[in-house]
Each structure stands twice: as structure tokens, then as C-alpha cells.
Symmetry: C2
Subunit: 332 residues, 2 copies
């Protein structure tokens, strides 16, 4: 187990970044078309092809999920992943053509210090190209922290980033999470090194600092980053189980509990928090509602851990006034 | 401040119970018709008049919210509250009639040891009558623990119950929560006295036990109560702020984060978790998206605290094999 979403059989992940612009793209490719759904709980989402993920809609299988920076400017990224997939002969076949199904969500990283000339009307946003590069490089190993869609991401107090984690659920099936953390709030408690996700940590995967010995009311005071709309945490949870689309929807909803436990605040009017859920179907179906609940609760756990790992792994952007990284503040 | 949802100006609450059947009803009455919405995130909900609470629907104001035991048998309870309201001359006026708008959610308490003859086809369910009694007795003070809709409620390891809490948000507005806790999971960590909601506790409102000094992986092992469908946590959060219906919807969604932080697991396929949100409009509107986020995050906090207070305040049912109360296990 790599403690990455790629521990779920049938998934590879690739990152690509534009360092001058301080933005990037992460692509999760599914070896075979996979059952998927989504839950959009934030108040300011930016998405593409999420409507088809409702359980009542006809398309049930998707080829990839794209997480991207760029705010709405990043919504072209899925084009790049679709192009790469079509060149590989993948995607839904129709009349001699291929239509790869690639839902996407974006986060806002425009105001992080990187130069975004296209958002001033100069040239084109890089995300389509970045997604093509990310898809071509997708593999079982990929970088966390300031990488891919998390490259330009921030939280209220610290650099955000890309996180991932996995677990073998009590049912024997594998569940993994991939997340780009750009929350309006914080992943850490007060001014200290402790992560809200501490109760769920495996080993030292995000520093092993545990829970603070004491908390003050001030630790619960809300702190907000930037302006309205300048936020958002976007994620993918995945399992190797066989799920129906409705079960995938339930897993996506339950996984949001992991965001609730790892970030404060979250699901704000200012966040566009989105979680996709995918079932690659390499292991069996959950035997009953309890087994499905195990998978759902595991999705929440791995997503909480992935959020903390994102912030724990990040490095600061090289711009004046950039948010410090967790490691800059609290060591290795 | 009573640390109850009735600290929100314009709200009174009443309880009524059928002790032999071990079920009950809680009614929250709004002094004047109030803006409301709802978020249904559990997989097995039982509700009444929730469709009209969608932001796009025409009815914007409601007169009361009913939380009830009885599973689907309890869905007649709102009739009792409507009847009481009509006798008081309240409700939406139309053609010389009154139509009180009373959305409702239920929880499953059939298998808690109390005798439910109506569910064997003998006689009628008591919830309509109980709601009428609860409405007539609604006041600023009301009982927590094994009372009202929480009378017959349980969690996986301990007696559930009715909880409430309030806070004055950083914006100056009051936010309160009312909840009947009947989760498939637990409100406490492992086998100990510590509540998952501990980080959010005010004073000694649920015992002041704080966070455990150490956690074991076993503390995260999921434990499930009863059979599928035998669960559900139902809640109302309220503020004295002026909100739009869409903002109330956002508050209801955000308040679910309080359930995520206070219960493990929650939002399961086996839970019908529902949160209503109401704005009585006695104070001002949130000044911006940050102020709305403060209200939303406060709703999550008070709901987490209310969940712990429900379990902390409960007393065991007098039946063989009944779940122990927190106080039976861990003292006063």
C-alpha cells in the first residue's frame, strides 16, 4: 500500500503545474470506465459534467476526473484529458467517435501571487495543456503537497496542497482519497501544529502530533481567507468495490464528513466544496447496508487524512506575502 | 441564555411522550411564520413537507417543525401540531381557512422495547395526539434527554435522546439547535465517556470530560446499532437573523458538519439524517458572506454540542436489554 488513492486498483494519477502562474491540474484516470457520482455541498462550486453524475441520469461510467486550479478559467482542463484519452482510443464509442466522460471541479488560486495574464485578457489559460500533460504522466506514484491542482492552493493560515491517503476497510475492500485543499478555513487547530484530522491519523502520515493537550475558546474562533469565492476544497474518493451509481452518490455524501472533521469552517457559502466518488469494481459489491456504511465511513476517514497530508506535505510559493508551509512553521 | 434553541427569539418548544410505547414528539413553534429550508443527507429519511423547503419552491415561511419518533407511523404527528395552530388562528390564510405549514422528520424507535400495538394493526399511532399536547405545552423551557422525540431514541452503545444548545455568534446573532439523536453510530469515543463533540463543549454542558489522552485504532472501529433503517438523527437549527430561503438552505447543509463531528458514523445509508434550518428574523441580515459563514459554522457547533447534550442528559428505558444511559455508565 502506497497510502495513495492509487492503492485502489484501476486508478492512476498525474500532476502538471505552471510554476510562474502558480496553478496546476491533477488528473485521475480510470483503467476502465467506472461507476461514479458526486456531492456538491459548498456554496460556490465550479464544475463541469456533474449533472450527468446524478443517480437518475443515463451515463453511469466515467473515464477520468480532473481537479484543477484556475477558478472558472480552469474549466477547460477536462478538454486536455479528453484529448489524451481519445488519442489512446478511450471514451464512450458513438458513431465512430469517442467521447471520454471527464467530470471536473476547480478551485480558486488566482490571487496567490502567480501571474495569470489570461485572466486580464492576455493569451489562454494553461489548464487544458496541463491536463494533457498530467494525463500522459499518470502513474501509481504521484507527488503530494504543492503539486497538481494543489500547486497554487492555500488555506487561511498555511499553504494548501494536494493530499491523498488510502485504507483497507473492515470489509476487505480498498478505499482511497485525493484532494486539493484550498479552504476558506484551516486544517490546523488555532495557531498550533495540530491537525483537526488528528484522531484519524495513521502512523506519522502527517507528523504524528496528535491532539492538543488543551484547547482554548480562541481555537474555535473562525478565521477566513481572502474574499468571497477565493476558496474551495475539491476531492475524489474511490473504492475497488462494485457499487451502483446511487451507492457512489451515498459515498460522495458521506465523504464530505471527512471534510467536516478536517477543516474549520468548511462547506461555507465561500467554498465550492465538491467530492466525486468512483467505484472501479475490481472487488465485490458490499454485502449489505452495513458493509456499504463501512465503505462510506472509510471514505470520510481517508478524505480527512488526505486533507491533513495535503497541508503537511506542502511547500510555500516563492512570492512576497505567500502563505507559509506547515513545515516552515512546525518543522519536518 | 438558557443554552436551548429557545434562546433564539421567536421559538418555543414542547415535548410529549407515550411512556408505555416508548416514543414521543417534539414540536418547535415559531411565534411568526419564519423562513426555512432543509438538508436531507441520510440515506433512509422519513419526512413530510420537505419538498416545499427547496429554495425554488413558492412557500417560504413555516409555522412549526415537528420531530417525532414512530418511524413512518409517526408522520401523522404534524396533523396534531396543525390542528393546534389552526385552533389558535394561525397558519397560511386561504379562502377563509388556515393552512399551518409544519414540516416534519421522524426517527425509528419501534424496536426499543416499548409496545407499539398500532404497528401490528391494533389501534392508532399516538403521535398525532402527542404533537397536539406538545404544541399546547410549548415554552421557553423544555426537557432534554429522554423526552419528546428523543424519548425512545438510542445510539449504538448508549441511550439517545433530545438535545439542545445555543450560542451568540461572533456576528452578535443567536444560533440554536434542537436534535433527537437516534444514530446508527455512537456519540462517544470507543468505550469511554468522551464525546466526539468535546472540542466544541461550552463549560460542563455535557460533563466536561474533554478529549481522551490517547486513542487506539479500535476507537475508530465502526459499530452499528440494530438493523438497516432502525436509526436516524433529526434536527432543527435556528437563528434570529434575517435569512433568505437559500441562505437557510446553506445553514441546514453546514449544520450537518456538526453531526459529522459529533457522531461516528453518520449520514449512513442506514440513517435518515435531516436538518431543518429556520430564521426568525428578529435581528438583522448577515452583512456579507463571511457573516453568513459565521452563522453557518455556529449552527454546526451548536448542533454538535446538542448531540452530546442529548446523550449526556438521557435516562435509560425501563425495559430488559435497554441501552444504558451515559450517566449510568459514567456518573453525573
Amino acid at each position: 500500500m502506497r497510502n495513495l488513492i492509487t492503492d485502489v486498483r484501476g486508478i492512476v494519477v498525474g500532476n502538471a503545474e505552471d510554476t510562474a502562474a502558480a496553478t496546476g491540474v491533477t488528473v485521475a484516470l480510470f483503467e476502465r470506465p467506472s461507476i461514479a457520482s458526486v456531492a456538491v455541498l459548498g456554496g460556490a462550486p465550479g464544475t463541469r459534467d456533474t449533472a450527468l453524475l446524478e443517480p437518475g441520469m443515463s451515463v453511469e461510467h466515467i473515464d477520468a476526473v480532473v481537479l484543477s486550479g484556475g477558478s472558472a478559467w480552469g474549466l477547460g482542463a477536462a478538454d486536455g484529458a479528453m484529448g489524451w484519452l481519445a488519442r489512446e482510443g478511450r471514451g464512450f464509442p458513438v458513431g465512430g467517435y469517442r467521447v471520454p466522460i471527464v467530470p471536473q471541479a476547480i478551485l480558486f488560486d488566482l490571487a496567490n501571487g502567480g501571474d495569470k495574464p489570461w485572466a486580464r485578457g492576455e493569451g489562454e489559460a494553461p489548464h487544458r495543456h496541463l491536463a494533457s500533460v498530467a494525463a500522459a504522466g499518470a502513474a501509481a506514484e504521484f507527488a503530494l503537497g504543492s503539486a497538481g491542482a494543489g500547486f497554487g492552493a492555500t488555506t487561511q493560515n498555511l499553504k494548501g496542497g494536494l493530499g491523498s491517503a488510502s485504507i483497507r476497510a473492515a470489509t476487505g475492500q480498498v478505499v482511497g482519497a485525493l484532494v486539493a485543499v484550498n479552504a476558506v478555513g484551516t486544517a490546523t487547530i488555532g495557531d498550533g501544529p495540530h491537525f483537526w484530522a488528528a484522531p484519524y491519523e495513521h502512523g506519522l502520515e502527517f507528523g504524528g502530533r496528535g491532539w492538543p493537550t488543551a484547547m482554548s475558546p480562541q481555537d474555535l474562533a473562525l478565521r477566513f481567507k481572502g474574499g468571497p469565492g477565493a476558496n474551495t476544497t475539491i476531492a475524489l474518493v474511490a473504492t475497488d468495490a462494485v457499487l451502483t451509481k446511487a451507492q457512489a452518490r451515498r459515498m460522495a455524501l458521506a465523504a464530505h464528513d471527512g471534510l467536516a472533521r478536517a477543516l474549520r469552517p468548511v462547506h461555507a457559502p465561500l467554498d465550492g466544496d465538491v467530492v466525486f466518488a468512483v467505484a472501479t469494481g475490481h472487488s465485490g459489491a458490499p454485502s449489505d447496508a452495513f458493509a456499504l456504511t463501512e465503505l462510506c465511513a472509510s471514505a470520510a476517514d481517508v478524505l480527512a487524512r488526505a486533507v491533513a497530508r495535503a497541508v503537511y506535505s506542502a511547500t510555500a510559493l516563492p512570492f512576497p506575502g505567500a502563505k507559509p508551509a506547515w513545515r516552515d512553521r512546525f518543522g519536518g
